[in-house]
């Protein structure tokens, strides 16, 4: 038994096993989140949501996946086939790969990169490429419009997103997510969302825009451009796009928790669960994901000019001001 455990801890084997576990988690997260999304929508709109498959409709994701697997994969006749089929992959791989650097519990991280935050920023920026590929490859006007909106939105909101990380980086003095979590205390008043409240809010809003969710779902824009960059997709390619959307939504929630809400740290010191602190991480992340869904079913979509105004004229100045406040406070104290 002990030899087996030692073997599993050896470097390439440990990495591949834990990466497989991450991939399993991400794909299941996507399936569960579609279910949760529809249930939340149901309860907010005073109806039940899916309740036919399994007890209280809990097996609905399995039925969805089965349906999507058996569905034909239609592509438009004049589509640029390589780009068309490559786009879902280019969207999913970045969304799944960043999960590597998230610490789920003490010592439970696939790769403790010393540039973890930089890695997150760099790899999520590839996602915009996937959106453009989907929009161009589909050879459809709606798709192209959606892709242009998506690219503009993701480039614009990357600026406040990155700027809002700088406060935490300054306070921690490290780019590693593990160090960021360790430097936040085991009580909730030691977490960074209190001294960095404007940054936390900015990161939340910019993250929401970065994963293209309501009220920032202009690239999808169901009621105006019917589905935006993913209008021509069907079957498993569509499912992969959805999976990457939900994976990046979960990712944004977990990064929110890691940077500003203490990661796996318990809210009060006596609630420390040791190696089972991933329960706290999961609970906090689920709460943030629920607020994402709550916002989705409560708020209307922004206009394009409002979107740009919010990003450049409100969020960027807030982060810059708070950056100076943080630097001044660190200089004084």
């Amino acid at each position: 038994m002990q030899t087996v455990l030692n073997l599993l801890e050896m470097e390439p084997i440990r990495f591949f096993i834990s990466f497989g576990a991450i991939l399993f988690l991400v794909l299941n997260l996507a399936a569960i989140l579609t279910m949760a999304e529809r249930k939340t929508a149901g309860y907010i709109q005073l109806r039940y949501g899916p309740n036919r498959v399994g007890p209280r409709g809990l097996l609905q994701p399995a039925a969805d996946v089965f349906k999507l697997f058996t569905k034909e994969n239609v592509s438009p006749g004049r589509a640029d086939l390589w780009i068309f089929l490559g786009a879902p992959i280019a969207m999913f791989i970045p969304a799944a790969a960043v999960w590597m650097v998230i610490p789920f519990a003490p010592n439970a991280v696939v790769a403790n990169l010393n540039i973890g935050i930089l890695f997150f920023v760099a790899v999520t920026s590839i996602g915009a490429l996937g959106v453009i590929m989907a929009g161009y490859g589909s050879h459809s006007t709606f798709s192209l419009l959606g892709a242009l909106r998506g690219a503009a939105q993701m480039i614009s909101y990357e600026v406040p997103l990155i700027l809002s990380l700088l406060g935490v980086i300054m306070l921690t003095g490290s780019l590693s997510f593990v160090d960021v979590v360790n430097s936040q205390g085991p009580n909730f008043w030691g977490w960074y969302f209190l001294p960095q409240l404007p940054m936390a809010l900015t990161f939340y809003i910019a993250g929401l825009a970065e994963v293209k969710r309501v009220p920032f779902d202009l690239p999808e824009g169901e009621s105006e451009i019917v589905g935006g960059f993913m209008v021509e997709y069907s079957g498993m390619t569509w499912a992969l796009i959805q999976a990457s959307e939900f994976a990046s939504m979960g990712l944004m929630a977990s990064i929110n928790v890691t940077l500003f809400f203490g990661g796996w740290q318990p809210p009060l010191e006596f609630l420390d669960l040791g190696n089972f602190n991933w329960i706290w991480f999961g609970l906090k992340t689920a709460l943030i994901m629920f607020t994402f869904q709550w916002i989705r079913w409560s708020v209307p979509r922004l206009r394009m000019d409002q979107l740009m105004d919010l990003g450049w004229k409100i969020l960027v100045p807030i982060t810059l001001v708070w950056l100076f406040v943080t630097a001044g406070a660190m200089l004084v104290f």
Binding site: I115, L129, I132, A152, I155
Partner: protein, 178 residues
Amino acid sequence: MIVAFAFLAGMTLVSAMGVVISRNVVHSALFMSGSFLGVAGFFVMLNAPALAAFQVLIYVGAVTVVILFGIMFTQKPQVRRFRTILNAQRWAGFFVAAGVGAFLAFILSIQNWGATSSGNGTRGVAAFARNLLGVTQGSEIFTLLFEVASVLLLVAVVAAIVVSRRKTGEGVDRGVEE
């Protein structure tokens, strides 16, 4: 290690060939991102993960995306084949490329690579930042260059605002009617 190197080299070179050969500007731009990703992989192999992350962030995530964005805004999206306009210079281009290749091969072959290994470079982000910002008793020229670069970027941002600003009296166009 050698497998990873061969894979990255193949990815970089094939993508770079694709940039030149492909007849479609969008394909060229996407191939370019593949080439940039290969270079980022080389930085990881050389123990410079920070450089790799910056390579991905700036070149793949920003430069390529902005290039694609520009292509899509300036060309009619209905036109499938964006003909490249530089084909008339193919022989001149061939000779320049061959000359540069021969020169680089010569330089690389006379260099003694014995003392250099991937482990001798700056390893951590911290050491990199200290060198860049001149915190330790290193040369402070990098700090000066760093500041000059940031001033240059600031000037570029201000200039972009000045160039793109509408003159007063042209009417308030907020782009709503799009």
